[in-house]
Amino acid sequence: MPTQAADVAHLLHRAWFGGTKTQIAAFSAMNLADVVDAVLTTPVAPNDVPAPPPLLNDGVTPEWEQYVDLLEWWFNLMATSSAPIVEKMTFFWHGHFTSSHSAAGNVNWTYDQNLLFRSRALGDMHLLTQEMAIQPMMLDYLNNRFNTKWGAQQNFARELMELFTMGIGADHYTEQDIIEVARAWTGYSVDWQTDKFVFRSDDHDNGTKSIFGVQPAKNWNGPDVIDYIFTNSDKQLATARFMARKLWTFFAYPNPSETVVNDLATVFINNNFVVKPLLRALFLRPEFYSPTAKNALVRSPVEYMVAVMRGLSMPAKFIHPQWYGERMGQALFDPPNVAGWKNNAYWLTTSAMSARADLAIDMHWRMWGDKNDPVNRPNIHPLKHLEGEMDSRNYSKTPTQMVDLIESYLDVTLGAGTRQVLVDFVTNTRAGQHRWTEPQLLVLALVAPEFHVS
């Protein structure tokens, strides 16, 4: 049974960063289960790593430029990857197991963490949790590198349970558990010379710890705690529910019903915390295609910037994610705190909207630039159509056709009200034979409300 094109487009906006007209047409001919499987298809080798950012570790590039390079590298992957679901989940994990590049200041750690998220994107969360815990990026960010038996340091222990796995809950863990888990994680540190993970047995507390009420108290180490969380039936249920809720909020809408949470948690547990079956179940839920889900999420700044890149065939360096991301409230690799970014209303401040409008203005200047200068301007196919009218002022296309054109490029469906405003704008300003009509039409489409939600 074919799938409705609107549902396919919705799925591709959420699971990927949007699809092309060809993809939507092809998927529409398939039944939903096959579409979902296709959407979840990842490269054959799950550890297949994309080519590293070109300037990383070249020995000469300053750190800031390496960071910008890394940003552009990831943005380009998000916009053009052949397995967009992998990038979407990498993005999810980055907001989940947060750490901050500006705090650590080590591009290699940031890159390594990103590779880890990508390699386990749809894989085993239990393994991923073990691996991320002992990466220098995390050991540094939550200070576990300083956690020793001479003085335990609770930061990682607390967030491991509160934000990374089970979430707050009186029956999940207690303040005493945090103290004891911190002891279990003593000695997991970073070598000052090599900047690599090191386990310092001298700093590790080998005493018995009483954790989660497990009797008798025993000599837990750090990974034991993670293993317990993912295998004990109470703890794994708490974790699976926590993750089901968070993934549903990320992909579908906030505040899922208990039924949805419980069903997805069950799938997660039954699949030993492998993410792909959970996502398959998630994308097959009828609720995912309900009116509640459609247009229920504000595009995060990263998603907005990727949508602009895709819509205008614009590589990342023209988007300047290092400037606009921060101003829109989402500096990639630099979440505001350990809980990551929030959603929807969080993005809708006047200052953040100002930054989105400024990016739109930035894009429209490309239509004014030297069209034959490949350095100042990529070969922007979509803009060429607008530019034809801008330069000739022959107006071979009606205002409505102009709006259709831009709607098609941007992969957006404008409502009747917005369409009317844009058509009126073109009609009215064409009367003045202004060369700015078409560039300003682009700006208006990029700031149109429909383009900021998915």
């Binding site: 300083f146 340091q153 809980a339 401040t349 900021h452």
Partner: protein
């Protein structure tokens, strides 16, 4: 209490709760302007139409600056209990030394009348304010049942509700916005890029977010932009599918409304990311656009490791930020303003071995301002083992909602029981109501050292406008009420970007009627100010400090008749290290009436070395600021000033008619040995050169150029008589800070003098120098740019030599220490 099954994500959504009726405040805004100019006027975005959209803060309405110390501030190292031995027992690695200990390095600062408790050594300004009874320290503030999750505790602080109460998840300030009868668009403002924090979100209203950097999208006036704004506003009035899409449209539409209202707050801010939030907060209040609550966020205070370093930086930021805030806040708002800090929790008594501290419970907070009941409030928690809570945590003596009760009832004019859902009492944090006489004297903040202001780059003068020949504008005169937009950035040697202002000599020539010229930043509101005045047929120059506006342009408006305009740029200002201004008390360096070489002949050149003269150092100067006067010329002509030894430029500095005595301020680059040359084009003339300042890289202060504003107009109050001195307060007036102001750039105009004479501008309180700032003949209206050093009382003095004259004084810039 958050639900027990809550995920962190839900906790966070709690803290930035989607507001179901986000657009209410916007609707209010539209209604406000609909009563006046109507929605269409708002779309065309006339600054005058905007004014009706906000209500200035009333004389007895309190204004609150909230400073969120993000991450849990360590109260023990902020307000240091150096008298309790347990503090040092538990914190061997991270304790602040006791001032009682001989030879202690960086000990806690003592507080007058308080024993055993001091402030972090970086809180010098707070110590000073405490000793002046303008700082309340609330000790042991927290909750009785602490939780140690950032998010849980932040949610409680921001909600301001009772645990487990049925209050909706809104913030306490948000509920105040909901309850207030006169909530404006800008009643509450959050400075930052993230979401709006929960405490500023109500059921029907929420704060507006402003960038720490600029007023943002929506303030430009070019037609193509205006048409875009109109379309954006129109989109926001159409229905669009989905809750969020309509709120996207509203947020952008709100931004359009906010942009030009708040633009004045973004002038002369320091570079530091944290400090500029405080400066912007003061600027927003000074802008008088109805701001009642401003929230800023500093941190990270989550100092689990290397606390001594990181926390000390945070303390310095807090200290300097508050000092900057009070120093920039206009005097008229000071006694209506209170600042308070808050944080989700304190830190554990026992230090960890990462040289940091873990999440704790009770902490301290500060409430500061001239109407605050200065002193210690609440009890410092006992650190004795038997008095602590479990896990080495401090016991609170004050519930944080007791603080909110005081702020709500005594300062915001609210009903705390309504906002907090319960009755709290027990604190007495205010000595007087907002704006009331009484309480403590107004704060006297000491000068703050910030890298404020732009440095100056002198260039050999270049002509960028001449309407006689079509340079910079079409070759035709500017007509009555005609506005000429002049591109400055990117023209000649002025760089295309980063230029904040230029100094240029503007000349009106061949005016067909008497009138005046106003120069102001393009797209800024037209100011009530003038730069030069002319009479029919006269050629009149004046140096203009012109702040650049949209697109790096300035606008020039001619009041009457047709006139040609000439502009020669002699330097520009950038926000980068470089040459800074050192103002001097005026010093007469040359007067050819009594000094060699005597009168200047036609096409004569005089070269004078100014290094080591009149306060100018012997080396290291880049440019000099002079007041140059041509006295009693025998023919119409002009003078050109340029660095000695370089080719003479084809520009002019001052023009004169026969027998006309004309002054003009001149800023000129100097040669390597500190010399300038002056060229006299025609006729014989005497020449006076008064030194008023210099520019050097090694000393001095940056110039903060502002949109012109009128500080004095004696035509309403009576002229200045013969040998009369008029003192004018400039510190704290308009954008000028209360303290630390070193000089002001003024355009001074003498109007209708009753006899020939001159005016000398000098620092109030100093001896009057033997110099002149402005010369005139009877009945002549003459303007000149004056660099005026500010006297110790924050004033400058104007001396009128003879006859009666009116004075009109416009502020165009200032510099701070």
């Amino acid at each position: 209490m958050l639900h027990s099954d809550i995920s962190s994500h839900d906790a966070l959504r709690h803290l930035s709760r989607p507001n179901s009726d986000l657009n209410l405040s916007r609707r209010r805004f539209l209604q406000a302007i609909a009563g006046g100019a109507g929605i269409a006027a708002a779309s065309s975005f006339l600054p005058s139409g905007m004014a009706s959209a906000v209500t200035p803060v009333g004389q007895h309405e309190g204004i609150l600056l909230m400073i969120y110390l993000a991450g849990g501030n360590d109260g023990l190292n902020t307000v240091v209990p150096f008298g309790q031995g347990e503090y040092y027992d538990n914190r061997p690695d991270i304790a602040i030394s006791s001032p009682d200990k001989a030879g202690a390095v960086n000990p806690a600062l003592r507080l007058e009348g308080v024993s055993g408790i001091g402030l972090h050594p970086n809180l010098g300004f707070l110590q000073q304010q405490f000793n002046q009874k303008q700082l309340a320290i609330v000790q042991g503030v927290g909750v009785s049942d602490p939780n140690f999750s950032h998010f849980e505790m932040l949610a409680r602080w921001m909600e301001g509700s009772n645990n487990g109460s049925s209050l909706s998840p809104t913030g306490w300030i948000g509920r105040w916005l909901d309850s207030a009868s006169s909530t404006d668009l800008l009643s509450a403002v959050n400075i930052g890029w993230g979401g709006i924090p929960l405490h500023l979100i109500g059921a029907n209203h929420r704060a507006v977010a402003l960038s720490p950097y600029d007023s943002g999208y929506g303030g430009d006036t070019e037609e193509w932009r205006q048409e875009g704004y109109k379309a954006i506003r129109s989109m926001a009035t159409r229905s669009v599918a989905g809750t969020w899409a309509s709120q996207v449209a509203n947020a952008l539409s709100d931004q359009l409304s906010v942009a030009s209202l708040v633009a004045p707050a973004y002038v002369g801010l320091p570079d530091d990311n944290h400090l500029r939030q405080f400066a912007a907060a003061a600027g927003l209040i000074n802008a008088n656009v109805g701001v009642r609550v401003v929230n800023v966020t500093i941190g990270n205070f989550d100092n689990h490791a290397t606390e001594l370093l990181d926390h000390a930086d945070n303390m310095k930021t807090l200290n300097d930020g508050l000092q900057l805030f009070w120093s920039m806040l206009s005097p008229s708002f000071q006694n209506r303003t209170t600042a308070m800090t808050f944080s989700e929790f304190g830190r554990r008594l026992l230090g960890n071995k990462s040289n940091g501290s873990d999440h704790g419970s009770a902490s301290c907070l500060f409430v500061m301002g001239p109407r605050v009941n200065g002193g210690m409030h609440g009890q410092y928690p006992s650190l004795k083992p038997g008095d602590l809570l479990a896990n080495n945590q401090l016991r609170a003596s004050v519930d944080f909602r007791q603080v909110y009760q005081q702020i709500a009832d005594k300062w915001l004019g609210a009903d705390s029981r309504q906002l907090l859902g319960a009755t709290y009492s027990g604190l007495n944090l205010f000595s007087a109501a907002p704006g009331d006489i009484g309480g403590s004297p107004d704060p006297v903040a000491t000068p703050v050292i910030v890298a404020a202001g732009s440095s100056f780059r002198a260039i050999v003068p270049e002509r960028i406008l001449d309407t006689r020949s079509g340079i910079g504008a079409p070759a035709r005169p500017v007509g009555p009420d005609g506005v000429l937009d002049l591109a400055v950035a990117g023209v000649g040697h002025v760089p295309p970007t980063d230029v904040t202002a230029v100094l240029m000599n503007v000349t009106a020539t061949g005016p067909t009627e008497s009138g005046f010229l106003t120069v102001w930043p393009k797209d800024a509101p037209f100011p009530n100010a003038s730069n030069l005045n002319f009479e029919t047929g006269q050629t009149v120059p004046n140096l203009v400090l012109a702040k650049l506006g949209a697109g790096g342009k300035v606008s020039m408006k001619n009041s009457a008749g047709d006139t040609h305009l000439i502009a020669d740029v002699c330097g520009y200002f950038v926000n980068k290290p470089g040459s800074r201004l050192v103002p001097l008390t005026p010093f007469r360096a040359l007067d050819t009436r009594s000094m060699a070489p005597g009168v200047l002949h036609p096409r004569g050149v005089v070269t004078i070395k100014l290094a080591a003269v009149g306060g100018i150092p012997s080396s290291g100067i880049d440019a000099v600021a002079l007041n140059v006067t041509a006295v009693a010329p025998t023919a119409a002509g002009f003078l050109t000033v340029w660095p000695a030894g370089e080719p003479m430029p084809t520009t002019s500095n001052l023009n004169f008619g026969t027998d006309q005595t004309v002054p003009n301020m001149v800023v000129s680059k100097v040669s390597a040995d500190g010399s300038i040359s002056v060229y006299n084009d025609s006729g014989n003339t005497h020449l006076i050169i008064d030194i008023v300042g210099y520019y050097a890289s090694t000393s001095g202060t940056g110039i903060i150029s502002v949109t012109p504003s009128r500080l004095l107009d004696t035509r309403g109050s009576g002229s200045v008589g013969e040998n009369g001195v008029h003192e004018l307060l400039v510190a704290g007036v308009g954008p000028v800070p209360v303290t630390g102001v070193r000089s002001v750039m003024l355009n001074v105009t003498a109007v209708a003098p009753t006899s020939p004479g001159f005016v000398t501008v000098f620092p109030a309180g100093a001896d009057r120098p033997n110099s002149s700032s402005l010369n005139f003949t009877k009945g002549q209206t003459v303007a000149n740019l004056v660099l005026a050093k500010v006297g110790g009382t924050g004033r400058v003095a104007f001396f009128n030599r003879s006859g009666n004259t009116h004075l009109v004084v416009d502020l165009v810039g200032y510099s701070v220490d």
